[in-house]
Symmetry: C3
Subunit: 343 residues, 3 copies
């Protein structure tokens, strides 16, 4: 059982590799099947406090890892170490830290990674479990939910060293990976119901102490802004591509669905050492967890990727589109009679 | 893996059968184990925009397939085609379409099935995956959540050709099937908090653009109306019956529970090619998905079937009753001393 | 299949054992592997209506089994009988009963256990299914959600007779068990938004008929009160201990997470005759169900155990802490450079 796993050594002598972070929805260059033995994967994250429009006219103070919501995806293999350098530039206004759900001890690293503006810290943790996991800032007290719901979260993917396995236990390789993360925002409102436009991140914290207590978000978006992944920002895949859809929700339950598609494979709880389910139409992500679904696209066209509370998708922003290019296959769907007068 | 499934032909030469729809909670006549090879199952759905009382005094403009909420259950086998004729009578007031979660491509059929009042359309899709799946109208933009939360959804059951299998992989047959679907409604309110009574479906759309944004339903009911399945409307089964409980929630999470009973078998995500769980007390349905639970009734009496957020069950309407007839079995439960003075 | 299970006899001749209840988060003395054959386990629960402060200054009329929220954990083995004596002292003000999700028939026992103040009742049920299950009061109508959300719920653990099995099917024994249950409270508010301080339990029922309809709790706590399991009330374990975390939520979904830890084993739906998942970071509990997670602590220090909607954890109270004592293991996590000026 995983209960009996033992771990030796501190990794000091492991080969070191530096992982270059990329902006969501992209994922860093990586091998699916590990080459060689466990490594120390060096990752640097820089905290950026940035104001942006989560929807036209609605500004939010986003607290971010590397300037994006979500923070960038980190990819390692089971039993690798992650050596994390966390930098909090002096231009920032508050203390931050990082808690990795993939780590063990010290509140996921949160207790040993607190950095004030102008500081950096380095710690190392062993990725002992395979799967996709949330990471997030957790400064303590009310700052924890407020930082998380200001965007300060992301995910790490820990692949089994031998790669992913399908529902029969056979190796499966994905052709592409997309990293699409839902964020619930709680923009503070003025007395007249309009959203506040705040001058500093600290004022955002003051006001959010009230807005989060409604438990009802004002915006629910993918990758930090309404329409960040629609129109010309839509990811493009090919018919026949096996696409790994990596998602997360650091705070609040969601239920993801690919309109016109499915998940061929969906790993329970986002954890790869469990046999994946097949054929799911919609997959539930509890707040505080991550998810991985693999789908081989079979038809060309536009697929909407939504939170299937359709109010949250359309009125609150939790919608992306994925465009598949290729040849139509009438064996799966066929128009018989176009719309016309009732006979 | 399901990833590697291939499909040939467009089904034009398949045997055609016409499925007669029936009103929920009934299910259409069907074989559990498929007879012969894949077929084209012809289904006609007529859209009806109807006003009714979701609870005494509370009127809603229900947008429906075939006049019921949910729309009727469709039953086919894996690899059958569904040939769907969608009719939008000229007496209706708006455009509608249909998205099948069981289908592949064209937004589940939504993109090729838009019908204005007076129009009909026909398309065919292959039911490549086994399970219970949601279908729903999805006209686009805010109309999508508003139509879905006006009742315009139902489910399709795609049985494995060889029938259902239990947790050991052995064939299991159900004696009865019940189709009970939860609907969240968002009735618009007047300034004084009373529910609006609107003259047209279009006015309902105008007002619902605001009521849905609360994310808090005003009514949560089974099969379209409070008490649709209680009292003399309660389904009746026999002790010893293996009953397949088919449910769905097209928009919002629910958690179903049979008070006094369990599910012997509950299929993950509602998808039959996954090994069922056993012994669940309560089963979670993410919004945008369907569920199938099998239970062999063991005691006579009244069972409440509820959304086990008991506020949603009792105050909002998400409750049905199922009556089982037969002989009491003291080996499972026995009264020892009736209520009396504390000794 | 479990569908085919047969049960004989009424247990009258079984050996009788009396289970002494203990206060949460403790669990009653029990064998993990059953000794001898099925027994009648005698349990007495006394209903106490008690006013207490769920958070400083916020009083609630708690309706309780044995004076605690949750009611005490009952532990039996599959195929044992539970013989339940329910006492409603004359000092109480209303009718109560009990519905066991582990039971079959008579609304889980609710229909045959109604006791007015001054009454007691005795009934027996067979624990035919293995797992952790909710029990709760269910007097009928609006009283059901009001009693449940006033604290009147707990859990019963039905162990397989041969003990628990890990993900490989091998016997696993836990060293400690903790019973931590989330409760959603809906304290009624005065017009000025302050919480009412009510003189009687009946007044609480009158006012709660409105407060529960918001569907938004005012307090979400573990074991009945904010901070019941923090600070000096934190449970203490040892590094190397395999700890069984038994949880439940009788009314509303939650998503539990051990900050700095994981679940090595998490049983689907809380039901032990299903193969457990491994490696979950966060485990979802639908309202109306119970959960069991096993974790072998590997590092010393403080672990927060939270509802990972972090607003619900921090602003509403759904947080506990568990302290692990032992030696730090640098192989899992290691500080490399303490916080200092950015280089
Ligand atoms: Cu932060
Ligand atoms: Cu966390
Ligand atoms: Cu429609
Ligand atoms: Cu849909
Ligand atoms: Cu009670
Ligand atoms: Cu219950
Ligand atoms: Mg670990
Ligand atoms: Mg701290
Ligand atoms: Mg957030
Ligand atoms: Mg498909
Ligand atoms: Mg369109
Ligand atoms: Mg709806
Ligand atoms: Mg039973
Ligand atoms: Mg009664
Ligand atoms: Mg409660």
């Amino acid at each position: 059982s995983v209960i009996d796993a033992t771990f030796e050594g501190e990794g000091d002598d492991f080969e070191r590799v530096k992982q270059e972070m990329v902006m969501p929805p992209l994922v860093p260059v990586h091998d699916q099947v590990a080459k060689g033995g466990p490594k120390i994967v060096e990752v640097t994250l820089e905290i950026q406090e940035k104001k942006w429009e989560v929807a036209p006219g609605d500004s939010v103070w986003a607290l971010t890892f590397n300037g994006s919501v979500p923070g960038p995806l980190i990819v390692v293999h089971q039993d690798d170490y992650v050596e994390l350098t966390l930098k909090n530039p002096a231009t920032n206004s508050m203390m931050h830290n990082i808690d990795f759900h993939a780590a063990t001890g010290h509140m996921g690293g949160g207790d040993i990674s607190e950095v004030n503006p102008g500081e950096e810290v380095v710690f190392r943790f062993k990725a002992t479990r395979a799967g996709v996991f949330v990471y997030h800032c957790a400064p303590g007290g009310m700052m924890t939910p407020m930082h998380v719901t200001s965007g300060m979260n992301g995910a790490i993917m820990v692949l089994p060293r031998e790669g992913l396995k399908d529902e029969k236990g056979n190796l499966v390789e994905y052709d592409k990976a997309l990293y699409i993360v839902e964020q619930d925002f709680y923009l503070p409102k003025n007395a007249d119901g309009s959203f506040m436009n705040l001058a500093t991140a600290n004022e955002s914290m003051n006001e959010m102490a009230n807005s989060i207590k409604t438990l009802i978000p004002t915006h629910i978006v993918f990758n930090g802004k309404k329409n960040s992944l629609t129109g010309k920002n839509s990811p493009v895949v090919n018919v026949g591509d096996k696409v790994l859809l990596i998602s997360a929700q650091a705070n609040r339950d969601t239920r993801l669905h690919l309109i016109g598609g499915h998940s061929d494979l969906f790993w329970p709880g986002g954890k790869f050492n469990n046999t994946p389910y097949t054929d799911f139409e919609t997959w539930h992500i509890p707040g505080g967890s991550a998810a991985a679904a693999l789908y081989r696209f079979r038809e060309p066209g536009t697929y909407a990727f939504v939170n299937h509370n359709l109010i949250e998708a359309i009125a609150f922003g939790a919608i992306a589109t994925i465009k598949a290019e290729g040849e139509w296959d009438n064996s799966l769907m066929k128009e018989i009679e176009k719309a016309g007068p009732i006979k």
